[in-house]
């Protein structure tokens, strides 16, 4: 447990000291800042564009707070998930490439603890960065619009975090299995595309993590969403990925 704590602390310190600080947290804060602004100015931009073409009339509804949150959630599902997939693909692979895993794993840090530390630190970093990005988005939205839909937005972000946790666990598994960031990221992107495709099929969507991809927007629209299956399968797959990563890494020759 001592070695696990020391290694998790190293992971956090590494985030602060390297490019990692500017990727996931940086992207989330950037999106938190820009989403309300984009929601506010997009109608004006569209009207200005239409004004340059005689005869073209674009009816754009007046933007509301919900538009900013929908914008942020859309970016979470696409941009941020892709960033998570690519960066977390290096979780184990980068240590292997640099040979740092050898000096860590010949000390009382077990391989299981190594994988768990990678997963836990990844999820914690994501949770903190998401909370900060979402908070920035809320502040910007309240300033530019009003304080409506904050609770639904928070719930939607929570659901996204569950999905991102599953992708983090999946990428640790793929990184441990392939020991190559590129291969792991490629496989992760394939899963991400497959999940998006599944949202087009109601039966698959309602009984798999794909359901979480559309749930956020539904919550913001004030509709009821059945979350048991999507959330349950997401967390179950995350747990299976962690167990799989531990099992795969135990057998790896370093």
């Amino acid at each position: 447990m001592t070695a696990f704590r020391a290694f998790v602390a190293k992971e956090f310190r590494e985030t602060r000291k390297t490019w990692r600080l500017w990727v996931v947290p940086g992207v989330l804060v950037f999106l938190g800042l820009t989403s309300p602004v984009l929601a506010a100015v997009t109608p004006a931009l569209l009207r200005a564009t239409a004004g340059q073409s005689p005869g073209v009339v674009i009816e754009v509804p007046t933007p509301v707070a919900r538009d900013a949150y929908v914008q942020f959630l859309g970016d979470l599902m696409q941009i941020v998930l892709l960033v998570v997939i690519i960066t977390t693909g290096a979780a184990v692979a980068a240590e292997r490439r640099a040979g740092t895993d050898v000096l860590m794993l010949t000390k009382p840090l077990t391989r299981d603890a190594f994988i768990l530390a990678k997963t836990v630190s990844g999820v914690m970093l994501l949770a903190v960065a998401t909370a900060i990005g979402a908070a920035v988005c809320v502040v910007g939205t309240v300033l530019l619009f009003d304080a409506s839909h904050v609770a639904a937005f928070a719930a939607s972000v929570g659901l996204w975090l569950a999905l991102a946790t599953m992708f983090t666990a999946l990428m640790v598994l793929l990184s441990a299995a392939t020991l190559r960031q590129g291969s792991a990221a490629g496989a992760g992107v394939t899963v991400w595309v497959a999940l998006f495709a599944m949202t087009a099929f109601p039966l698959l969507r309602d009984h798999s993590p794909a359901g979480l991809m559309a749930a956020g927007d539904e919550l913001l629209m004030g509709r009821d969403v059945a979350l048991a299956w999507p959330l349950g399968t997401t967390l179950a797959i995350a747990a299976l990925c962690v167990a799989g990563a531990v099992a795969v890494f135990r057998r790896k020759e370093l």
């Binding site: 001592t2 070695a3 020391a6 290694f7 602390a9 190293k10 590494e14 000291k17 390297t18 640099a98 040979g99 740092t100 895993d101 050898v102 000096l103 860590m104 794993l105 010949t106 000390k107 009382p108 840090l109 077990t110 020759e253 370093l254």
Partner: protein
Amino acid sequence: MSDETPAVVIDGLAKRYGDVVALDGVDLTVPQGSVFGFLGPNGAGKTTTLRILAGLARPTSGRAAVLGHDVVARADTVHGLIGYLPDVPGFYKWMTAENFLTLSGRLFGLEGAVLRERVTALLDLAGLTGVTTRVGGYSRGMKQRLGVAQALINAPRLLMLDEPTSALDPIGRRELLEMIAGLAGRTTVFFSTHILADVERVCDTVAILAGGRVVVQAGIDELKARHGGGHRITVDVDRPDQLVEALQGAAWLASVAHEGRDVVLEAPDLETAFRELPAVVAAQGLALRRLEAAEVSLEEVFVDLVQGAAVPAGAGRGTT
């Protein structure tokens, strides 16, 4: 675990990578407290053996134990007892040496004053005190010295070093060898190398690995006496062929050969040779121009044994 328990016991250890045989039934015992040189040409299987002992690779068959603990079944216990330096150590580039030693110590559960004292002492030992540059900017020699320091953070009972001097300049090499020699009797040092001078300088016992097998394990003096005949005598006479013929079958000789203008003898006992040889030269009516004696070097023993070792099919290829 009693002090009589060997630091390392390897029994019939084999490792294959597909068709490539890296280790082909290695047997080895390393007594506690020894400075043990693990010699072998490139590709002999030294690194593979060390990786198995460190729990980084699994044997195909056979077993290995460190201080009585099986390296596969009790890897976690083994990791608490050893210090390990791979041939090319990898560090977090963003850390300083102090950061890395502190992290290493914390993985062993060291905290507070004990950790600080040990880090300070090891930075001093590695010549890195006051170096605030990040490890990413270190030379290979600096990384190697930091590698040795991190391997000592837990005061290990077995220190395993894979080619520790290969990246060091002559001064760094001498300092490291002196440090290793200074550990004799306090901990067991098991280090692999192909630099024979390093082994002759600090080791009390050696094993020579060739073709995935240990071809010999012995004390250095015993090894030279057993395999080298003890002393090498070079004789320059006017008719070398006649001297070689006259010396054939002499009981005090291990071997005799004509090499260029010289006759080269190997003799277990130098005094007997110095008594007998001039008598033979005189009896043959030869003119003695030069007579030189030297100890048989470990290098000569090494070359003889390695060249004489049977190399199994596929051995020595690939990553070993």
